[in-house]
């Protein structure tokens, strides 16, 4: 059971300062727009939090481009909107000196080869729900998510969108429960980010002999013989942290552990 509220709350409260600026080439007005500063929840997705950014820059771009999809770029690379913001930050930013995170906003030349298009928030929602269901298949053979009602799904989504911890966890709690027959999840849903992509594998939270597996076990199974560090939520969890506990408490809202691998 995910009932360590102190941890859950702290994870939920994580925020990042981001400074947005419009690509100077796209500015059609005489005056350059000001940078736009925003505190962004780590657990959210960019399309959910950039309405204000779009509004701010919209009047500086050419009329014919105003209806186009806005996309974000950091360090010359388009940002993958379908990763949670905290994951992107942990992947891209290595030191606190780089704060605030400077992100360039584009309205033109959508890099279709590199990132998915997202027409509206529903696209994000369906992607999010797909992840959530996948995680539940790993944890409980998908029994809990599929037995949920539409309104529970809505509550999860609105809780995330409106940054409401209680609302979200009132439903997410059920997804984090272990069934009465078993005392742990079937498999741990996680993604290890490495080399511009991520890897997944079926890993159980307990070993054959009933011992609780830890993060060290996960690393050993994923990267045998290699010495790696794992970063998530902007910190490096101790290697002796049990996997079951990590999955319950350190998963992102999509119910996956997003682990950034540092060689």
């Amino acid at each position: 059971m995910a009932n360590d509220r102190e941890i859950l709350r702290e994870v939920w409260e994580g925020k990042l300062p981001i400074s947005f600026q419009l690509d100077p080439d796209e500015v059609v007005e005489l005056q350059q727009p000001d940078q736009f500063y925003l505190m962004v929840p780590r657990l959210s997705y960019f399309p959910l939090v950039t309405d204000k950014v779009r509004k701010h820059f919209l009047r500086y771009v050419a009329n014919d481009k105003q209806d186009r999809e806005m996309w974000l770029e950091y360090d010359g690379q388009p940002i993958k909107w379908h990763y949670p913001i905290g994951v992107l930050f942990d992947l891209l930013i290595t030191s606190d000196d780089q704060l605030p995170w400077n992100i360039t906003v584009h309205f033109d030349k959508f890099p279709e080869n590199q990132i998915y298009r997202f027409n509206n928030k529903e696209t994000v929602e369906s992607y999010f729900m797909a992840c959530l269901k996948e995680a539940d298949v790993l944890k409980h053979r998908g029994q809990i998510a599929s037995n949920m009602q539409k309104k529970d799904h809505n509550q999860l989504w609105l809780g995330l969108q409106n940054d409401k911890f209680e609302q979200f966890w009132a439903v997410n709690r059920k997804l984090m429960e272990v069934s009465s027959e078993q005392e742990h999840f079937k498999y741990i849903p996680f993604r290890c980010y490495i080399d511009d992509g991520y890897r997944q594998k079926l890993i159980k939270p307990v070993a054959e002999d009933g011992r609780r597996k830890t993060l060290q076990d996960l690393i050993n199974e994923m990267f045998p013989g290699r010495n790696v560090n794992i970063k998530t939520h902007g910190m490096i969890p101790p290697l002796e942290t049990p996997l079951q506990w990590m999955s319950e408490h350190l998963s992102y809202p999509d119910n996956f552990l997003h682990l950034c691998v540092q060689m």
Binding site: M1, A2, N3, D4, E6, I7, E10, V11, G14, K15, L16, P17, Y37, L38, M39, V40, P41, S44, L48, V49, T50, K52, D96, L99, P100, Q161, N162, D163, K164, E166, A170, V178, S180, E181, E183, H184, H233, G234, M235, I236, P237, P238, E240, T241, Q244, W245, E248, L250
Partner: protein
């Protein structure tokens, strides 16, 4: 869920208990006796001792078990001797019971056993129906039996008086032995014992059934066991079919009995009903298989479980305890189902939850997943509750030897346990040490019941040995290496959805250890250390704005009392303000719109099947909006939104202040009004509270309600301009009118404290007062400083004895009070003048009951009582007592914004009357006359009721019983529950008379609600009323707490302070009559009302003796029976059964009992305050305020209370919020 106890016997034969609120097994103080088997219902534990004798252990009762023995002394008048004890041969006994049929000679009434003690000697009852009697308690009549009167008349030929004496069960919290069957206790010892039957349909409350099996395999039924007689009367052998040798027996809560035979079959007792508690006959049931012999059985309500001799567990399907008395099939079930697991012993609780002792590991197991729909459950779950370390010295040989000595030497001597010794050894026990400490009493294990047959001879040398210390006692237990030999769940109520904290070591999340793990602490630290430079970004905008939002939904709205129409509700919250918009269903046009600031109360006002929310906006018209939602979930969502937004606007967050006023609605919701919030919002100038009215837009005549109390120091300033054509103008300070009821119509008689009447033609100013519609003598000295067409400033200051009237800042005159100034309730202005502005400065807070913001707190409650230092108690509908935890929020808010809340349950009964009419052909049938009431109706017969279609109020409520006939209806019932009457509506009686043409009976069905709230359960003792009052003025003072137990017994709670609001324990205060209401204030003044309607006050209360000395009866007001009473320094107020209020007059410190009652009848203002009002329901007296609730649900505040007029002058009306009770005792 109230806490309850699971019992167990360990391998040493020691009895342990595990509380549902605890986590550790605690041993019941060992008193030298080991036990083999246990059987329990709440508060009563029966056990089979290691000596094969039966013992009873009564525990956890805060009210002593008291029985009042009554004997009527009868006398007849003889011509010469006068009244004499020589009666006619046809007369009744000289000492008899109430109807004269039984001989009740005082000297023959004895204690039933040594477990009982007399409380005092025989005494005369000196009242009749609440009225005091003279003549040594004699009441007179023409003849036996007849109506008895308190006065002797010329025709009085007989008289009688009542002798009463109370006895008390003194063996509480200790083992009390039941007398053996024969003089030689070893000749037929017992081998099994079972208690149950606490919910036999329709039986007298308190009935319990005890069955036992003897070593000769005979079955015994114990007669007369009840909560009033824990040991019962005697053993009755119950014949069993030839060839069946009974080995074990179990009786369920509904009285269903199963017995296991030595040959492995089972017998089921059929025909157990309220009329035949021991049943009619046996039916045989075969074992589950050919070679599977039943070893042990346990019966629940709808479940029978068995363990066969090969340790397999079996469930009997098809058993239904509620119908088992009437149906053989339901009693015997229809088949065995095999369960997994190997168990040694099994026990089924009253709610069909199952517990067992494992056959191999001897652990206690709980069957998880058992519910009404799945009685077999899911899997066995082991209990992991540690044993509380036993006070080791308890079993030191010396201790045992010591009292062994005593017990042998003095079988009749009551004092045998080393009481002081034991108490000191047990002081390490948590909570309520009293519950387990052996009482210094005759009922302790050495004091064995005296039985008429065996009496003292039981204690012959030989039998004593075997009775207490069987020689082989240790041998029997030594063979078990395992921890548990027996588990007993009969007294244990566990809600499968909220399991107690007994399984801590099972399950994945082992939280207690995780909290301190280094990796967890490091993760937490690291998470907190993220973004070390966060101060730099403090001013940055948040990406997700949680401070503004709109909540929209569909609902139906009713304005005032009208029909519900469709609408769209929109609640908009922008930063710090909110608006509620009610739109037409098209969503475009607005029906109504107001600021959330105007809302003073948001209340659930659902009706079954219609989830509704009432929004009180007293400054709008209509002042009450009701919204109906399509589901309970929607209602709760809106309720939570309103509660959080309105709460934030009114700044009522966090803990309410100690001076808060509490109120409860008829739906059981509790609300608080916090005076500090009004105080902080009210304008202040120096030491004065200020209220300003802008009257410039208004036209004369104008009336302005004045809620300040007009105490000396109050100052009213009115500015305005007098019209050019003004002739007479008037500025009045009016008091409430006096209403008189004549011929069912109220006549109104106005009262005016100050009539200020400038007359420009006559050029003087008339001052006068009107008292009850009559003008007094005019004062018109002085000139006329006011001029037509000119502006003026009129200032009226109140002093102790006069109004000082200033015109344009110059003292014009003073006007001596003719009516108490505190009765001023209204400023009225008439004539040709234009007022501009009215300013009132008051030394006291200005309190308009219409403007108070009521904030909800969780819980389902019937009464809440508070006191000056903020200690607050509540009583639920099921009479459970709750103590306020200082938290807020709860069920209605969800988990959001709640603090210090706990799960709570409450229950209520739905009642339906079945009516029938007699006709000559078919007898009584449900075919009534066309003019008759509904054949299924409410008590009045005016409302149709059907049993099948009863809806519960909301999804939070659940049925917990089926429809059952109520055998406990006032007036009595016959054996099928019917009451007879000549016609509808009539007075109903239990026996059918020749002239009775109609009959009715009552059905009831119980439902329960589960919610949460900032309340902690106080204990098991059920309460009907409570009152709290600090003894001293300081905050940490001891608080005197008086309460009434559900039987009407008075009690005081010891050790209650602000830091320990639950106190330590109850002390019983005996009273002659059962009491109905009690109030205490100041601490040395306690008043109560008797069930018969008279009042009592307690004398002899001092700081060191809070329970006082005795009750003194005060006669009720003429024609009224008092129902509820509230007392405080400002007076004694009571509500009677007709909804009137009575105030005790001429109460002084030397005569705190006063001399007579003044009656306040509800005036038209009160009757119109809420629909369906006919009178008052509840009154609460604070230090200087009196508030009341009407039976229509309006809240009222009494105006004009002052030393010269302690009953006040009128009522200020608050919102009609379905209130049923209010407590202003904390408000100062």
């Amino acid at each position: 869920m109230p806490s309850s106890l699971l019992f167990g016997i360990n391998n040493e034969g020691r009895v342990h208990t595990l509380s549902t609120t605890g986590t550790m097994w605690r041993e019941i103080p060992y008193a030298g006796q080991e036990f083999k088997k246990l059987s329990a219902v709440p508060y009563f534990l029966w056990a089979l001792g290691g000596d094969h004798q039966i013992y009873v252990y009564v525990h956890g009762l805060d009210i002593p078990i008291r029985v009042r023995e009554e004997a009527y002394e009868n006398e007849r008048w003889l011509p010469i001797e006068g009244f004499s004890s020589r009666l006619l041969p046809t007369d009744r006994y000289r000492f008899s019971n109430v109807d004269g049929t039984v001989d009740r000679s005082i000297d023959k009434i004895r204690l039933p056993s040594m477990a009982w003690q007399w409380e005092g000697d025989w005494q005369l009852e000196l009242t009749l129906d609440g009225q005091p009697l003279d003549h040594q308690g004699w009441t007179y009549a023409v003849d036996f039996p007849a109506q008895y009167y308190s006065k002797k008349q010329w025709k009085s030929c007989v008289r009688r008086r009542l002798w009463v004496r109370s006895r008390r069960y003194s063996a509480m919290n200790s083992w009390c032995a039941i007398a053996p069957l024969h003089k030689d206790a070893t000749s037929e010892p017992f081998i099994d014992i079972s208690i149950g039957g606490q919910s036999v349909a329709g039986a007298e409350p308190g009935t319990m059934l005890v069955w036992a099996v003897t070593s000769h395999n005979r079955v015994m039924f114990r007669t007369g066991v009840s909560t009033k007689s824990p040991e019962g009367a005697r053993w009755n052998p119950i014949p069993t079919p030839i060839g069946s040798e009974i080995n074990q027996i179990s009786v369920g809560p509904t009285g269903l009995v199963w017995a296991a035979l030595l040959d492995g079959r089972a017998l089921v007792r059929v025909g157990v009903t309220r009329d035949s508690l021991s049943g009619e006959s046996w039916v045989e049931v075969r074992g589950p298989g050919d070679n599977l012999k039943i070893g042990q059985l346990s019966v629940g309500t709808c479940a029978v479980w068995a363990v066969t001799q090969n340790k397999q567990v079996w469930f009997r399907k098809g058993v239904k305890g509620e119908g088992a008395g009437l149906s053989e099939e339901l009693a015997a079930g229809c088949g065995w189902v095999e369960m997994v697991g190997r168990m040694a012993q099994i026990s089924v609780a009253a709610n069909d939850q199952v517990w067992a002792v494992g056959a191999d590991d001897r652990l206690v197991y709980y069957r998880s997943g058992v519910g009404a729909s799945d009685l077999t459950g899911k899997r066995w779950k082991a209990l992991h509750a540690p044993l509380q370390s036993r006070p080791s010295s308890m079993c030191e040989p010396s201790t045992i030897a010591e009292w062994e000595e005593q017990s042998h030497s003095a079988p009749t001597a009551p004092t045998s346990l080393p009481v002081g010794d034991l108490a000191s050894k047990f002081e390490t026990q948590p909570k309520n040490p009293k519950a387990w400490s052996p009482v210094h009493s005759v009922g302790s294990i050495v004091g064995t019941e005296v039985h008429p047959e065996v009496d003292e001879s039981v204690w012959s040398d030989g039998s004593r040995e075997s009775c207490i210390f069987a020689e082989d006692e240790e041998l029997g237990w030594a063979e078990y290496e395992a921890p548990w030999s027996w588990v007993e769940a009969g007294a244990c109520t566990v809600d499968p959805t909220q399991l107690p904290n007994w399984f801590a070591e099972v399950g994945g999340g082992n939280n207690h250890t995780e909290m301190g793990e280094p990796w967890r602490l490091r993760i937490l630290d690291d998470l907190k250390l993220r973004l070390p430079t966060k101060d730099l970004y403090k001013e940055w905008q948040m990406a997700v704005d949680t401070t503004s939002w709109v909540h929209t939904g569909e609902a139906r709205v009713s304005w005032g009392s009208g029909q519900f129409v469709d609408c769209v509700l929109q609640l908009e919250w922008v930063q710090i303000t909110g608006t509620l918009t009610v739109l037409n269903p098209d969503g475009a046009s607005t029906m109504n719109l107001f600021s959330l600031n105007d809302i003073t109360c948001v209340q659930c006002c659902s009706e079954p099947g219609s989830p509704r929310l009432g929004i009180h906006v007293p400054r709008h018209s209509p002042s009450l909006l009701k919204f109906q939602f399509s589901s309970d979930a929607q209602l709760e969502e809106w309720q939570a939104h309103f509660a959080t937004t309105c709460g934030r606007l009114q700044h009522v967050l966090g803990k309410p202040s100690e001076g808060s006023v509490w109120a409860v609605t008829t739906l059981g919701d509790a609300f608080i009004w916090d005076p500090t919030q009004l105080e902080s919002n009210q304008l202040r100038e120096n030491d004065y509270y200020v209220q300003k009215f802008d009257l410039s837009g208004k036209e004369s005549p104008i009336k302005v309600a004045l809620h300040g109390s007009f105490k000396p120091g109050t100052c009213l300033t009115l500015t305005g301009c007098i019209g050019d054509d003004a002739d007479r103008i008037g500025i009045n300070l009016d008091a409430h009118s006096t209403y008189r009821l004549r011929h069912k119509a109220h006549s109104e008689h106005e009262n005016t404290c100050l009539h200020f009447n400038p007359r420009f033609v006559e050029s003087h100013i008339v001052r006068n007062s009107m008292i009850e519609g009559k003008w007094g003598k005019e004062e018109k000295e002085g000139d006329l400083p006011l001029k037509r067409g000119q502006e003026f400033v009129l200032r009226i200051e109140t002093t102790e004895d006069a109004f000082l009237i200033y015109i344009d800042d110059k003292l014009f005159t003073n006007y001596r009070h003719r009516l108490p100034p505190s009765s001023v309730s209204m400023l009225s202005i008439w004539g040709r003048l234009q007022p501009f502005k009215l300013v009132i400065k008051s030394p006291e807070i200005i309190l308009d009951p219409l403007n108070l913001y009521w904030r909800q707190v969780g819980g389902h409650l019937r009464r809440v009582e508070s006191c000056r230092v903020g200690v607050t108690w509540a009583i639920g509908y099921d009479h459970t007592a709750w103590v306020y935890t200082g938290g807020w929020g709860g069920g209605f808010l969800g988990a959001l914004d709640s603090h210090n809340v706990h799960p709570m349950t409450d229950s209520q009964d739905y009642r339906v009357y079945e009516n029938q009419r007699w006709n000559p052909v078919t007898g009584y049938t449900s075919a009534g006359l066309p003019t008759d009431r509904y054949m299924w109706s409410d008590a009045t017969g005016k409302q149709k009721r059907t049993r099948d279609q009863v809806k519960l109020l909301s999804v939070k409520w659940q049925w917990v019983s089926d429809w059952m006939i109520d055998f406990h209806v006032p007036g009595g019932v016959d054996r099928d529950g019917w009451q007879y009457a000549v016609d509808f509506p009539g007075t109903y009686h239990a026996h059918k008379n020749f002239t009775d043409y109609v009959r009715r009976r009552r059905w009831y069905r119980r439902c329960a609600v589960a919610t949460t709230g900032p309340w902690q359960e106080l204990g098991h003792t059920k309460l009907i009323d409570v009152s709290l009052e600090p003894v001293k003025d300081d905050l940490d003072s001891i608080i005197s707490v008086w309460a009434l137990a559900s039987g009407g017994q008075a009690m005081v709670r010891t050790g209650v302070t602000r830091s320990n609001p639950a106190g330590l324990g109850w002390e019983h205060v005996s009273s002659d009559q059962p009491l109905g209401s009690i109030s205490c204030g100041p601490y040395n003044l306690v008043w109560a009302t008797g069930k018969k309607g008279c009042a009592y006050w307690r004398i002899g209360i001092t700081e060191n003796k809070l329970e006082g000395e005795r009750w003194v009866c005060v006669e009720p007001p003429n024609g009224g029976q008092l129902k509820q009473i509230s007392v405080n320094v400002i007076g004694v107020w009571a509500v009677d059964h007709m909804g009137r209020i009575h105030v005790r007059k001429e109460v002084t410190t030397t005569f705190p009992e006063g001399t007579h009652w003044q009656t306040i009848t509800p005036d038209p203002l009160v009757l119109n305050a809420a629909p369906n009002t006919t009178g008052f329901k509840h009154v609460s007296v604070g230090r200087n305020e009196v508030w009341a609730a009407t039976n229509g649900g309006a809240i009222l505040r009494r105006a004009g209370i002052c030393p010269s007029n302690p009953a006040g002058s009128g009522w200020f009306v608050g919102i009609p919020g379905n209130w049923q009770q209010v407590s202003v005792r904390a408000f100062n």
